[in-house]
Amino acid sequence: MYVIVVYDVDVKRVAKVHRFLRTHLHWRQNSVFEGELTRAQLYEIKKTLEDLIEEEDSVLIYELPGSNFTLHVLGTDRNPVGEII
């Protein structure tokens, strides 16, 4: 499944969340990650994030039915997602 993860966590934990998410997903822009995941990976991400964050933090995970969605970019696309470097 294709997911988009956005988070709003306390500055003390921002780096931790960022460092963890980038081992599974593509960094899109500040506090936004996206990428293709398996069910097991999503489960692992949820579990780990629950341990990392505190009560007042917020993480949203959007599960998309497929990767065929339209993206509208205004301004610059900081880090386009692609398998080709």
Partner: protein
């Protein structure tokens, strides 16, 4: 689902913060290592020991190619499926002439079926391939049948191409654009087949149609041949006939090679074809073509262990 990463510029792969980073003078980019199936390097790439450690832990192989797209070698994580009894059976089936002939014949039948499947989907006249009998007394004779099949196939394939000329296969280095794409495609497919064979119990160096050569994983050659018409050649036909790839995507010196822009067009299309899902009649679910390569491996294992006779893939889509 894990995806491959293709690197088309020079640089260095290193470990930082538990993930891989690709870095060069143009900047750095994080590679989500947990979502990566393998890394393909088309330009010189340096791996740090930290990167190798991480790649081993996550079981991600790295494949290297030269500038014409020929496979140069791989970094393979030590982890893998090991089963002594399967390897012994595999060797036994190689050594026993009759047993080997059966598997080799199946492999050639599979190649023929794939060629016909592709040509039929383009409504080409494939009767000249259909009438070639797959028969032989030895694997060498079957290799002869295979090369006749390919020769016929190249001829019909060339006539289907609308923009580029393709007369004959030339290698090391490829002489024209179509040959360049075939070389790149075949090498990537070989590396993918190798990655998939490593997930089964089979030993990648003991092959049945090709002779097991030194320094080459010839079982990956055996299996990737079946999938060449279905993936590499289909992608080339599509890209050329729809005008998605043109002269500007190639570089030229002694031979012809895809440049960076060309790779950016060619590789995603090939990967898309490998990830394309088809309904499997026996498993009754959609499986990717890439996974079908591994399924070929599994049915070989079953054959070697005497559970079920091996019949190679007959492309049905």
């Amino acid at each position: 689902m894990k995806r491959p990463v293709y690197i088309t510029q020079m640089g260095m792969l290193e470990r930082r913060g538990n993930t891989l980073f690709f870095e060069n003078e143009n900047g750095k980019k994080a590679i989500p290592v947990n979502s990566t199936s393998e890394v393909h390097c088309f330009k010189p790439v340096t791996l740090t020991s930290g990167a190798i450690k991480l790649l081993s832990e996550k079981n991600v192989p790295v494949h290297f190619y030269n500038k014409y797209g020929y496979y140069r070698g791989s970094y393979m994580p030590a982890e893998g499926q090991v089963s002594g009894s399967v390897i012994i059976r595999q060797a036994e089936h190689y050594l026993d002439g009759e047993k080997r002939l059966h598997i080799a014949k199946q492999l050639v039948e599979g190649i023929k079926a794939s060629m016909l499947a592709l040509l039929k989907s383009y409504r080409a006249d494939a009767s000249s391939i259909e009438c070639i009998p797959v028969d032989g007394e030895s694997p060498a004779e079957l290799m002869g049948v295979e090369s006749t099949l390919w020769k016929e196939f190249y001829g019909i394939f060339g006539s289907l191409l609308k923009n580029f000329e393709f007369r004959e296969r030339s290698r090391r280095p490829p002489k024209d654009e179509v040959n360049a794409m075939i070389s790149y495609g075949n090498s990537v497919l070989y590396a993918v087949a190798l990655s998939e064979v490593r997930k089964t119990y089979l030993h990648p160096a003991i092959s049945f149609l090709h002779e097991p050569l030194e320094r080459r994983y010839s079982l990956a050659l055996d299996l990737s041949d079946i999938f060449k018409p279905l993936t590499v050649f289909r992608v080339i036909l599509r890209l050329v006939n729809r005008g998605k790839i043109g002269e500007e995507h190639f570089g030229r010196d002694v031979g012809v090679m895809l440049n960076r822009e060309g790779l950016k067009v060619f590789l995603p299309e090939l990967n898309g074809e490998l990830e394309r899902k088809v309904l499997h009649p026996k498993l009754k679910r959609n499986v990717s073509i890439r996974y079908l390569i591994r399924l070929e491996g599994y049915s070989l294992v079953k054959h070697l262990l005497g559970d079920r006779t091996y019949t190679s893939l007959r492309a049905w889509w």
